[in-house]
């Protein structure tokens, strides 16, 4: 078990491509941290630098209070689960899991015990003699996990381990990995582009965009207090609605544009006044919009219903407000049809304000 510290970790590829830009992150011993961000943002590169598969351009990686920059992967006490599984196709499931232990000259009996134990945990006992080619995707995935487990590494690294599974299997394996983490109490760094995975499994999430760390926090923190527009839009599904509004100072502070207005409460108004802003980006999550006029201050949108997607308990509404698409989740008991005019509103505590240039959150709640 060990903690992992990344200090100004940077990767510049040969072509000058800055894939990871001064990443700072501390992962506590036994913690489950997700690196999440859109495809191509540098998650894999960061993970590979931690694993020792990619040269570090600058910065530092420490595992268990030891700087490991110059150590080869095998001396870093880590295990990596590849996105592609990377199982040895010519070896049986048993040998796939045992390979690392054999190379470490572990006694045969110990290898046997570790592999059988891992196979039991992962429900692979029946497949130990098979080759990877004779397994289904989910089973291969579990073998890849098993190969990591038997090594009992200080740190588990996983690169989108679920992305090749179908939706149902993904949910199942997600729970399996979460259980595994509880059982092993190991430090885990898990890379994914799927914020749902991150939200459901992680102790803490690090959101990355374009190689730059945006925010680190618990799932709840990221959901409730996103530090900027990117994080606000990335975390949560369906993603947050955004609209650019102008400041209007007649009869109380308001933010307006055609069809949409926000009547600011005192705290928000004061903040906008202090910053002297003439405009702001307003964000509101679909699940925080409700049908009807606002009670007191808050956001009000008048729109026309475009699409209604029935989800069972709720319905997902796409509505057009002066050419902008607004998404809302409303109770299925509210009957709306395509073409209906609708007023959507949200309470001030659910309205997020962002500085339009920097896109940083104004912290108003």
């Amino acid at each position: 078990m060990a903690r992992v510290v990344l200090k100004d970790l940077t990767k510049r590829y040969a072509g000058g491509n800055l894939a990871v830009d001064r990443l700072n992150l501390e992962v506590a011993d036994g913690e489950f941290v997700c690196l999440v961000g859109p495809s191509g943002c540098g998650k894999t590169t960061a993970l590979r630098m931690i694993a020792g598969l990619e040269d570090i351009s600058s910065g530092e990686v420490s595992i268990g209070d030891k700087v490991v920059n110059m150590l080869p992967p095998r001396d870093r006490d880590i295990a990596l689960v590849f996105q592609s599984y990377a199982l040895y196709p010519h070896m049986s499931v048993y040998d796939n899991m045992a390979f690392g232990l054999k190379l470490r000259k572990t006694p045969k009996a110990d290898i046997e015990r570790s592999v059988r134990e891992a196979a039991r945990i992962l429900d692979l006992e029946r497949f130990l003699d098979r080759k990877p080619g004779q397994l289904s995707g989910g089973q291969r995935q579990r073998v890849a996990l098993g190969r990591a487990i038997v090594r009992e590494p200080a740190v588990f690294l996983m690169d989108e381990p679920l992305s090749n599974l179908d939706a149902k299997l993904r949910v199942q394996t997600r729970a399996e990995i979460a259980r595994l983490h509880q059982r092993l109490q190991a430090t885990m760094i898990y890379v994914t582009h799927d914020q749902v995975e991150a939200m459901t499994m992680a102790d803490r999430i690090a959101v990355i965009s374009d190689g730059v760390l945006q925010q680190v926090g618990t799932p709840k923190q990221l959901y409730e207090e996103p530090c900027n527009r990117f994080v606000a839009g990335f975390i949560g599904s369906p993603s947050m609605n955004f609209v650019e509004l102008k400041v209007q100072r007649e009869d109380g502070m308001r933010l307006v544009c055609e069809g949409t207005q926000v009547v600011l409460d005192d705290a928000m108004a004061a903040q906008l006044r202090d910053l002297g802003l003439e405009a702001a980006t307003v964000g509101v999550r679909p699940e925080h919009l409700r049908v009807g006029e606002p009670e007191g201050p808050g956001l009000r949108v008048s729109a026309t219903v475009d699409v209604v997607e029935f989800l069972g308990n709720d319905a997902l509404i796409h509505a057009a407000a002066e050419g902008r698409d607004v998404v809302a989740i409303v109770g299925a008991d509210i009957h709306l049809a395509v073409g209906d005019a609708v007023i959507l509103s949200a309470a001030p505590r659910h309205v997020y304000l962002f500085e339009p240039q920097s896109e940083m959150s104004l912290g108003a709640r």
Partner: protein, 306 residues
Amino acid sequence: MSVAEAAGLAIPVRRRRLSIHFRPSRLVLNVVLVLVAIFWLVPTISLTVISFRPEGLFGISGWWTVLTAPSQLTIQNYETLLSTGFATGGILDSLVTTAAITVPATILVTVLSSLAAYSLVFGRWRGRTAVFLVIVALLVVPVQVALIPVAQLYDAFGNLTGLKLFGSLPGVIIFHVAFGLPFGVFLMRNFYTGIPKDLLEAGRIDGAGEWTLFRRVVMPLGLPAAASLAIFQFIWVWNDLLVGLVFLGGNPHHTLTIFLFSQTRTLAANYWVISTGAMISIIVPLAIFFSFQRYFVRGVLAGAVK
């Protein structure tokens, strides 16, 4: 088995459900294939039959008469040819000489090509592509242009070290290895490029060094390509006449091809020796081919990734 198949390249297995509905065309296809196969086999069959007929019959009746008069078959030719035993210059001596050249030349080319290809594909040094291109360029160098320079090189080497390569088996082996390597590296490199890099990285994390990765991961996966390379190289060296003729100059031990070739020169119509000797000389490559065939397993990479 084509090179592509041997190298394990993806050749989709077509499930032709249509064929169920068109049995007649399938029958025609099979008949045509059988005919082609027979046509292809005729020279081999005739050679076989000639080698089992008495020497005197050659100019009198055709080999196909054996179909109506099987009693003419005899193993007398083989007895005569083999009766000299391992005497220098005899056929068994030539067989041993050829094997002593071919086996090391084949093993060396296969192993060295695999090692070179590993470094070219998975190494992390600069200029790998340039080196590979130079090797590809070497593919077009004809053997003939190298004969004299290499002979001189051997001479110079001999003067310098006292080791005589010209006229010796090692000299022939080295020449064959040098000329087999470009194609070998080319073939193995192209095959190794298809091995996912993830596999090697997984191995590195599992604790494998380069040598272990080569031996435990890459080499087993490259077996189909190595097997086809070994077969090509074996047959090429086994059947070589030119290199042996030039570089064994003065050596009393001959290769099989030289043995056969000398028969045509000394006695224009010594067909019984040629046919019988040819039969003996093709048995080994055939055996090699069939015993290596089981390594042509397609789809060895199945299940590695995804």
